[in-house]
Amino acid sequence: MTATPPQTGSGATAAAPPADHADRARTPLQRIADLRAWLFLAALVLGFEAWSRIDFGGTFILNPFNIQSIAIFAVAPLLLATGQTFVIISGGIDLSMGFIMGLAAVVAAHVIGWATPTIGPGWAVLLGLLVSVGVAGIPGMVNGLLVSRLRVPPFIGTLGMFGVARGVAFLLAGGTTVPVSNPAFSALGNGRLWGVPWIVIVAAAFVLAMHYLLSQTRFGQHNYAIGANEQAARRAGIDIRSHVLRLYILSGLCAGLAGFLYAARFSAGAAQAGEPLLLDSVAAVVIGGASLFGGSGTILGTVAGAFVIAVIQYGLVFINVEPFWQFISVGVVIIVSVLIDQAQRRFSGGRVGE
């Protein structure tokens, strides 16, 4: 640079660092921290494996039944967490997902039960999928309108929708579970393709598509930008309101698919199907490395986070520990994840609060 002006201040001429090259590469420590959810998962699996070998001489993870059970177990929380990942990256949160899932499960059971005699089992399942996921998009849309148009904080708006969806789901279910009898539906819920449960295949395909949406498209890119600096995104010409609206519809649809698959698995719809899963979904996202302040997170991290929770819950049952330890373990993992995240930010010198 040639045109540096003479400065009247003190001798500030010599100390200037070569600012051009001050950009830092990621340190090995940071890279490990990025993978922390997967490391957690590996450590957990090894831990349970060791315990089960010492305690009763059997294998934990090499048993295909266990792998299948964990995968089936993880489907619903993973689907919720996938939608939640998008919302949390944008700087919001969706508390209504659990009951949107229950609503979709009840709707799917009703629609399929009603349509099976008239249009046959196969078409009834398809109709049930479209209607239940479509219905799940409605509370998502209301969430989106509340947050984007009426500037209601996501925590409050989706908390309201939590109550509304819960009430509507219980009303539709008549306060009980809604059984449904359809061979195609229960084949979807319990059948396997080459030994892999269908619902795991459907969930995996969906999650892969969501990974693509978040990491490879403008929608995903704008989602990160909005979460980091909404003002910047707006000035760059991004239509924040329509993005946020689509975002909450998307999380509603994720919950809808989870509800549909739940109904398939149990051949019944229940309003409370997703009730315990909401916090698990948030936990999976946080364990997966997203920041609740928005701007960071990945679907692959969330997948690891969801499996960390599933492995803890299933593994503790498997080694015969009292089930209440599940809550404690998942809670500890969440706290440790957040601590690691904060330590990482401090070490990397990221300008978090600027």
Partner: protein
């Protein structure tokens, strides 16, 4: 002399009974840096917001290369080549330089011949080329902007304007939040923009910076022009007198 790039004629802006800006005229030529000075509330911000499409002027006219323009939104002003670089930079800290330059206008390519995906390589290459144009040589294009220093981030914001071929850059206190070496870097950047034939409006409280980089200075006081001087023909004392009305 040829047509000025930006020609502001008798511009006024009132908010209800408050006259924030009245009858202000100034020009910015190609390759010219015009500093805008004045105390808080003097009308600097109102002026740049009127020029950049945030406010609609209540009177007067803005001409761009001789043609009258009226912007309904900042997007329209940007499309016409007027880019404003705000104090708070308007960068998404978690994205790369390339992603910030292309934010809202990301290039896509087709993976496997059908699947549309973000063209990250193109963004990175454009970012590298643009930053080199500003004499900032960045080695890692995949690092988020948060890894960079204040001056570098300022350069990214300027780089975005340069990439989209802004002819007029309005910079609101670009050196305010920076340390001394970084301030010099930004001053150097403004010299680069000038050499590229762009027009720059430079708002600053720092007379050092103004005298280091500007060709002319326009001083506002309570919404009216308090004086316009060529930098070569004025002094710090005179500018301060204009600002405080002594």
């Amino acid at each position: 002399m040829s047509e000025p790039l930006l020609d502001i004629r008798h511009l006024s802006k009132s908010f209800g009974p408050v006259q924030a800006l009245s009858d202000l005229s100034m020009t910015v030529g190609a390759g010219e840096v015009v500093a805008l000075a004045g105390d808080n509330g003097a009308g600097k911000t109102t002026l740049i917001k009127a020029v950049s499409g945030v406010y609609r002027p209540s009177g007067g006219e803005i001409r761009l290369s001789g043609r009258p323009v009226a912007f309904a939104s900042p997007q329209e002003a940007r499309a016409a080549g007027i880019e404003t670089i705000y104090q708070d930079l308007a960068l998404a800290d978690n994205l790369t330089i390339g992603a910030n330059i292309f934010l809202g206008r990301e290039p896509m390519r087709r993976a496997f011949g059908f699947l549309p995906v973000l063209d990250r390589r193109r963004m990175a290459e454009a970012a590298r080329a643009t930053m080199a144009l500003l004499d900032f040589h960045v080695s890692r294009m995949d690092a988020p902007v948060s890894n960079f220093s204040g001056g570098q981030r300022q350069a990214v914001a300027i780089g975005r304007a340069v990439y989209w071929d802004a002819r007029i850059l309005i910079m609101d206190e670009p050196t305010a939040a920076l340390g001394v070496p970084e301030q010099r870097k930004v001053i150097g950047l403004i010299h680069q923009l000038k050499a590229q034939g762009r027009g720059v409006i430079f708002i600053s409280h720092n007379l050092q910076d103004i005298f280091a980089v500007a060709d002319r200075i326009v001083v506002l006081r309570r919404g009216v022009m308090a004086g316009a001087r060529r930098i070569a023909e004025t002094t710090h004392d005179e500018v301060v007198r204009l600002m405080i009305g002594g």
